[in-house]
Amino acid sequence: MSTLLLIEQILNGLQFGVMLFLMSAGLTLIFGVMGLINLAHGSLYMVGAFAAAAVAGATGSFLLALITALAAAATAGALVEIVVIRRLYRATHLDQVLATFALILIFSEGTRWVFGSFPLFLDIPDALSGPVSLPGGIKYPLYRLALIGIGILVALGLWWLTARTRLGIQIRAGENDREMIAALGVDISRLYTIVFALGAALAGLAGALVGAIQSVQIGMGEPVLILAFVVIVIGGIGSIKGAFVGALLVGLTDTLGGIFLPELFKLFMETDAATQTGSALASMAVYILMSLVLIWRPTGLFGARA
């Protein structure tokens, strides 16, 4: 395998990781601040993608579609927080798992009710379509480069938000001591709604961005959701830094595992069998990675509390 191909594959892994980060950041933020396991996070991703596809279909503007996706997911998130989630903060993990599982059912079939059973169309904007040549002669899709860029910008933005703003101080305080910030006069339920909507908006953004290169369909959120959980568990639940590192690890493992494991097995097996065994193992790779991390560090790489 040539170095160029390897570099291209590493870029692919990075891009996948960065998208996973957008999903995981919201998830881990919500868990860190509110102690809530939100299985319905994948549904918000789907909401973002469908909103973007609907608006792009009607207006033809990708930018407008992105904005709508953000707004729709944030609104859906805030609504869900106010109607349902708010009652679950004191509940056990079990209740949270269950209630948000119920939300998945409602969102998925509800979306099908509204949009029908067929996938929707969402395309890359013209300005970002096609490949560009990178130094060294690698041809790489511009849109994917843009995704990496957007992901890194969001990561920086989140860092700035938590480290440098008033809201960030409240969020960090909320992670450490809920009673304390309530005592300081912060309106905690408003803070929770904002954080939840922020997390939802990130998921919606990821859905819209990814929807342009994938299929916008019912249930698209669930595989990503499970990977996002893997990411935040590896990174340590509640840690944005952990989510970033975890997302890149998972993205690279998944992408590179799919390529190298079959090649590895070809060294000592017949081609057909090697391709199949290698692919089977590759599809299990991220879960194996997660188990290994947890066995080594039961609260993840950067996790503080269980």
Binding site: F31, I37, V84, R87, L88, A91, T92, H93, L94, D95, V97, L98, A99, F101, A102, L103, I104, L105, I106, S108, E109, G110, R112, W113, I226, F229, V230, V233, I237, Q276, S279, A280, S283, M284, Y287, I288, M290, S291, L294, I295, P298, T299, G300, G303, A306
Partner: protein, 327 residues
């Protein structure tokens, strides 16, 4: 409010009467539905031992359900094709005998539960939920790509397996077998609750530090509970496969793990008959809502939400007016 034991009695009676009536009026499909409810209940009783009593929120119990299913599928497949099953140095023949299949299902899932438990129980809380989910996904993807036994297509068994002295091809005898096993599992759970082990496990869920300070090891208590739980769910998997005469990787899917938890919650978590009532309700809803609308999942979701938000003890909690154990 009604005492829980009366409700339990009514549920058991209902499980005897409804299929018998269906047999009389020649509605065999009702018996099939009842069998489905009973088998799902058995799987959930297994999970309830770990989840309700031990406080272990496992989102990966489909692993044991699937292993039980594949134990049945693989043994019956080898019997059906007359090809012995090669296990490295020695070979064994397949079998169509239910008792042997059940035993294999129980042993295999107990061993898997031991291995998974040893690794997962080092973590707790959300991490435990997620690592069990991860093990479920591993088995799921493995089963999909394991082409020797059908991969995603699964394995079909043309005829239901045999039980000495019974015609299992008839819906009613097979239902009877499943019900008998469910009752055995309920008795097992009941006796466990009354035993020293049950007392200690129950305390380990509520106050693990306390259990340690009296000199007991909560981890070991949980591990044993997890193994028993996995074994019961594995047995249910074998029955489920026999009911459908078919196994496939969907038995390993995380949605199935989620559904097992759903059954327990709508019935009443940590209560002996919670999973039974939950499974009956689930099958009825699935059948009845499914007949009314294409979008029945929406309504299932709404019902679930209402139960989580407003009926914390599930259906049994509503009927008895008492909340169950907290998990």
């Amino acid at each position: 409010m009604i005492a829980e034991r009366y409700i339990n009695a009514v549920v058991l009676l209902g499980l005897l009467v409804v299929p018998s009536y269906a047999l009389m009026v020649d509605e065999p499909f009702t018996i099939t539905l009842a069998t489905r409810a009973v088998v799902l209940a058995l799987a959930a009783v297994g999970l309830n031992i770990a989840l309700g009593t031990g406080g272990l929120v496992s989102l990966g119990h489909a692993v044991f359900f699937g292993l039980g299913g594949y134990a049945m599928g693989i043994l019956a497949f080898h019997a059906q094709t007359y090809a012995p099953l090669s296990l490295g140095i020695f070979e064994i023949g397949g079998t169509k005998s239910m008792p042997i299949i059940w035993l294999v299902a129980i042993v295999v899932s107990a061993l898997a539960a031991l291995a998974i438990g040893l690794l997962s129980l080092r973590t707790s809380g959300v991490y435990f939920i997620m690592i069990t989910l991860a093990f479920g996904q591993m088995f799921y993807y493995f089963a999909i790509s394991w082409s020797a036994y059908g991969g995603e297509d699964g394995l079909s068994i043309y005829l239901r397996n045999d039980f000495p002295g019974l015609n299992t091809l008839q819906p009613m005898p097979f239902f009877g077998l499943c019900l008998a096993l469910l009752c055995l599992a309920l008795i097992l759970h009941w006796r466990l609750l009354l035993s020293p082990f049950g007392l200690a496990l129950n305390a380990a869920r509520q106050a693990p530090q306390r259990v340690e300070t009296v000199g007991l090891n909560p981890m070991r208590l949980r591990l044993v509970a997890f193994v028993i739980s996995g074994a019961v769910t594995g047995l249910a998997g074998a029955l489920f496969a026999d009911l459908n005469r078919f196994v496939s990787p969907t038995m390993f899917s995380w949605q199935l793990s989620g559904e097992l938890i759903v059954l327990i919650i709508i019935g009443g978590v940590g209560r002996l008959f919670g999973p039974v009532l939950g499974a009956i309700l689930f099958v009825v809803l699935e059948h009845w809502l499914g007949a009314v609308t294409d979008f029945w999942h929406v309504w299932l979701g709404v019902i679930l939400l209402l139960i989580v938000l407003f009926a914390r003890g599930g259906l049994l909690g509503l009927l008895t007016g008492k909340e169950g154990p907290h998990v």
